[in-house]
């Protein structure tokens, strides 16, 4: 028994996140019985990646505050004030917390025609499925699962999203949700192909599909090496997260809410944060592919966290850019969105592929 | 509110003559009440009601009355100034006339020739007047005042025919005078004609605005409540009644199926006291007098008395609005004399 635990401890200790800043505190905590095991577990890189960064903690915080940041920033650009009345001297910072509480205590209405079981299960399933790609995205050198096929797996998991969203619409069994679902499906098809081709261009450029390697071996960021791929990837990301110029399926003003028109209460709350979760994941992927991942001036006090810090900073920047798009562009019609997806973006993606091939051949 | 010409700042003064009070130290209305109303001389022409500035004189159940006059009377003397019976100078006979003739309107259907209506509307066509006032009646032969504000009201014409019942013509006349632009034409009984003349004598505004006064031949008027009760007793059905007339001392009520006749003398019991002191049959003071007596059936006897009346009558003839008949002066003599006999009732 003890041998097993010691073996496990050795495995964990050999792969620890080192943070010089909190080491004195950790040394103090070592004196408390059993605390050594706990610290070892938490600081074990795969566990740390899942639970803290870039996993649940950082993800959760961004889910909690990005809606607020988006609303506040868009309001500033549009000469408004944004969330204001709740803790007004801090600019309504806990607005989303209040919204979440409201969603929690609201009744979840399941209408008569809905497929009750799926209707209630899909929001939670979707939420969990949306978290899976985080396992493969490295924040600096912290990653949960290190595999040479990281990018392919992430792309595969991203391609699962539409299935779940369409499942939401299907379980609602409502004509409005159905229309929204069909529109969503169209947009996904238009966006997935250029998205995947742009990512493939980067695999060709870096000659690897291991996300950790991709991030750490970028001496020049990918956005400079292949800007066309970066642009294609960014527009496709906007389409994939249903942000404003491509908010075709949801289109609040005309169609209410797209696939999730029938949802209310906490089920709706979960779906509401889905697009922010998706935005977080795709922004993280974009940071790894085009912005050098956790590359940046090393901060000695943070140790391993230095990479994670730069990664999160860049990810938040990409997310913010994605969200601010809504103040700049009006929404496209469905046909315009599809046209953009299938012609200019596909051509751009192919050009990006060609650029990568040429660069690889030259260098 | 129209703006008149510009004026200079300064005090504007004017004098108004008020009549002598017969009863000193009493209000003017008390004078009127003592001299006219209480002596049964009042003919209910309602001239006083129309002129009262406070609008407080009222015609209540066919008696002119002023509730609370001690408090509310402004004591301006207007009622006394305009009352035709205050200094009563009874007129009788046929009076002066320019033309004695008869006519039958082609546009309107009345009891006889409907010439009263024709005169008002022809004057309106001429542009002499823009408002006219008639007496209207309903199915039960109750009277009401018909105020014509334009030619387009030709379609809903008043029901013509002699009504031996009072109507509030003159209060409506004052309203018309206040609002008219060109002038007002009025159709009324001899007592009302005297009232209009008295108003015109006293007030230039009436002289200026009342252009045409058509008088009606009048033997007497009755209060509706009393006369209707009497006629129903005689077997008259108001819904079938076509016309009422007085022919040679007999009251004739013609209905669709039968006629009821009885002597006028029998109505003396309900004859109002004012009428029993009236001697004017042909409305001597009017511009044109109209009536059924003195011409063939279907024609109205027309007595044109003044230049204004002559102008309108010439216009009617020129436009061919009426057929011209023949008037017989001698046929009027009986009724003129019948009313002249009433002079003996007057004790001044």
């Amino acid at each position: 028994m003890m041998e097993m635990i010691n073996g496990l401890m050795n495995t964990m200790l050999s792969n620890q996140v080192s943070i010089p800043l909190i080491e004195p505190m950790l040394d103090m905590l070592q004196g408390i019985p059993m605390m050594g095991y706990m610290i070892a577990l938490v600081l074990w890189k795969p566990f740390f990646a899942i639970v803290i960064c870039p996993g649940l903690t950082v993800g959760g915080v961004s889910l909690l505050f990005f809606p607020w940041i988006e609303r506040k920033l868009c309001a500033r650009i549009q000469w408004r004030v944004g969330p204001h009345e709740i803790v007004w001297w801090l600019g309504g910072v806990i607005q989303i917390l209040a919204d979440t509480l409201r969603f929690l205590f609201q009744e979840v209405i399941v209408h008569k025609d809905a497929h009750k079981r799926y209707f209630l299960q899909f929001p939670f399933l979707t939420f969990i499925a949306f978290l899976l790609p985080l396992l493969f995205i490295p924040a600096g050198n912290i990653v949960a699962i290190k595999t040479p096929y990281g990018l392919q797996i992430v792309l595969l998991l991203l391609c699962l999203f539409p299935l779940f969203v369409m499942g939401l619409g299907w379980a609602s069994n409502s004509r409005f949700a159905y229309i929204g679902t069909v529109r969503e499906a169209f947009v996904y098809f238009a966006e997935e192909v250029p998205f995947i081709i742009a990512a493939l261009a980067m695999i060709i450029l870096y000659k690897t599909s291991d996300l950790t390697l991709m991030a750490s071996e970028q001496c020049i960021p990918g956005i400079i090496l292949n800007p066309i791929a970066a642009l294609t990837f960014f527009i496709a990301a906007a389409m994939a997260t249903s942000r404003m110029p491509f908010e075709i399926a949801e289109s609040d003003q005309e169609l209410c809410a797209g696939p999730h028109v029938e949802y209310s209460g906490i089920a709706f709350g979960l779906i509401y944060v889905l697009c922010y979760e998706k935005g977080y994941i795709i922004s993280g992927l974009m940071t790894v592919l085009f912005l050098g991942g956790g590359a940046g001036p090393a901060i000695p006090y943070l140790g391993d966290l230095s990479g994670a810090f730069w990664f999160i900073l860049k990810t938040y920047f990409v997310m913010t850019t994605l969200f601010v798009l809504r103040t700049i562009y009006p929404r496209y019609r469905l046909d315009q969105g599809l046209k953009i997806g299938w012609s200019p973006m596909l051509i751009m993606a192919l050009i990006a592929l060609a650029v990568s091939l040429v660069e690889v051949a030259v260098i | 509110m129209k703006m008149a010409a510009e004026t200079k700042v300064g005090e504007a003064e004017w004098e108004v003559k008020i009549p002598e009070k017969k009863l000193k130290d009493r209000l003017f209305f008390e004078n009127l009440k003592a001299m006219v109303i209480d002596t049964q001389l009042c003919s209910r022409c309602l001239t006083c009601v129309s002129i009262c500035p406070g609008g407080l004189l009222v015609n209540e159940e066919d008696v002119v009355d002023f509730p609370d006059f001690e408090d509310k009377c402004l004591d301006c003397g207007a009622c006394v100034r305009v009352c035709p019976r205050y200094d009563y100078k009874p007129k009788s006979g046929l009076g002066d006339y320019i033309e004695f003739t008869a006519g039958q309107s082609k546009r309107f259907k009345g009891q006889d020739g409907a010439m009263g209506t024709e005169f008002i509307f022809s004057a309106m066509d001429m542009g002499l007047i823009d408002r006219g006032i008639f007496v209207d009646r309903d199915e039960q032969w109750r009277t009401s005042v018909f105020h014509v504000r334009g030619k387009e009201q030709l379609e809903k014409l008043p029901l013509g025919g002699t009504k031996y019942v009072f109507a509030d013509i003159l209060p409506e006349l004052k309203k018309a005078v206040t609002f008219t632009k060109k002038g007002v034409g009025v159709v009324g009984t001899p007592c009302m004609v005297s009232g209009v003349r008295k108003l015109q004598e006293e007030f230039p505004i009436f002289k200026e605005k009342v252009k045409l006064v058509v008088g009606l031949f009048c033997t007497e008027n009755y209060h509706y409540a009393e006369v209707s009760k009497y006629l129903i007793g005689k077997g008259v059905d108001f819904s079938k009644l076509i016309k009422t007339d007085i022919i040679k001392g007999k009251f004739v009520a013609t209905m669709t199926d039968k006629e009821v006749k009885f002597k006028v003398a029998k109505l003396d019991d309900i004859l109002p006291s004012g009428c029993s002191r009236c001697t004017d049959f042909t409305a001597v003071e009017s511009d044109v007098s109209v009536g059924s007596v003195g011409s063939a059936a279907g024609f109205s006897t027309t007595v044109v008395r003044t230049e204004t009346g002559k102008e309108v009558w010439d216009y009617i003839k020129k436009m061919g609005n009426a057929e011209v008949g023949e008037g017989k002066v001698e046929e009027l003599d009986f009724l003129i004399n019948h009313k002249k006999e009433r002079e003996k009732n007057i004790q001044l």
């Binding site: 500033r76 | 004026t7 504007a12 108004v16 406070g54 206040t178």
Partner: protein, 249 residues
């Protein structure tokens, strides 16, 4: 359809497109750093209102001449005249009907009605919106939370908010009524009844009458020096022979 004009989208070439996109993004970035807020944070800030702002209406019974002009002119029929204990008629306003056109204030010949900058009055129910004369004399109870006043400034290019750390006064001096140089005059003196209604209604003592018993005449007079041109006698004259006429100076 002939005569219909086809709307053609403006044509942009690639460089134009890139320029417009760059301009849009640049504006967004600029605004996110230095925003021009157009929102007034109402209870804590208040917009600065001009002096002729059409707000809650106050009433001064001392200046009222009971001419009924306000209730006659009111297009929403919100003003009713009610008899006060001193037998005078004073206006009452039903704020459920009032459309705040302030014709009443413009028409007030005595300057008894005046505007304020109060525009946020709360009522418990509809019946309470009927404001009696007594309630119109004093302003309603006011709780002020605002610390700043905000002004919209339109400069050459855009509209901006200018915030000042001062409270905007709610009350405005009553604008003295426009002196219309009009006096009442009798246009048909012969038709005068000498009913003396003009003397009774005249507030300024311009119309007067003297009865001379000896000659049985009434001397009527309208003093144009005293006449304010309120038009009360013109309205009340039973023969409608009085008119308002313009004064030549």
């Amino acid at each position: 359809m002939s005569g219909m004009k086809k709307v053609v989208a403006p044509e942009y070439n690639l460089s134009d497109k890139i320029k417009t996109h760059a301009y849009a993004i640049g504006t967004a970035m600029e605004e996110s750093v230095y925003p021009h807020t157009a929102t007034v944070l109402y209870p804590r800030e208040k917009k600065k209102m001009p002096d002729n702002f059409r707000g809650y209406i106050l009433f001064d019974p001392d200046k009222c001449i009971s001419c009924f002009n306000c209730s006659f002119v009111c297009p929403a029929n919100a003003i009713r005249m009610k008899e006060a204990p001193n037998n005078r008629y004073y206006p009452t306003i039903d704020y459920g009907k009032c459309i705040f056109c302030h014709f009443c204030i413009d028409s007030c010949s005595g300057g008894a009605l005046r505007t304020t900058k109060i525009h946020d009055v709360a009522y418990k129910d509809v019946d309470e919106m009927f404001t009696s004369t007594e309630e119109m004399i004093e302003p309603p109870e006011i709780i002020r939370e605002d610390k700043k006043s905000v002004e919209y400034v339109i400069d050459e290019t855009d509209l901006h908010l200018k915030r000042k750390k001062e409270r905007d006064g709610l009350f405005v001096e009553a604008v003295p009524p426009v002196e219309i140089p009009m006096v009442s005059q009798c246009v048909d003196r012969g038709s005068c009844l000498a009913c003396k209604i003009c003397e009774r209604v005249c507030e300024s003592g311009a119309a007067s009458s003297v009865v001379e018993e000896a000659t049985m005449t009434v001397k009527m007079a309208i003093d144009a020096e005293k006449c304010t041109g309120c038009g009360l006698c013109v309205k009340e004259c039973s023969m409608q022979i009085l008119r308002l006429v313009r004064v030549r100076k």
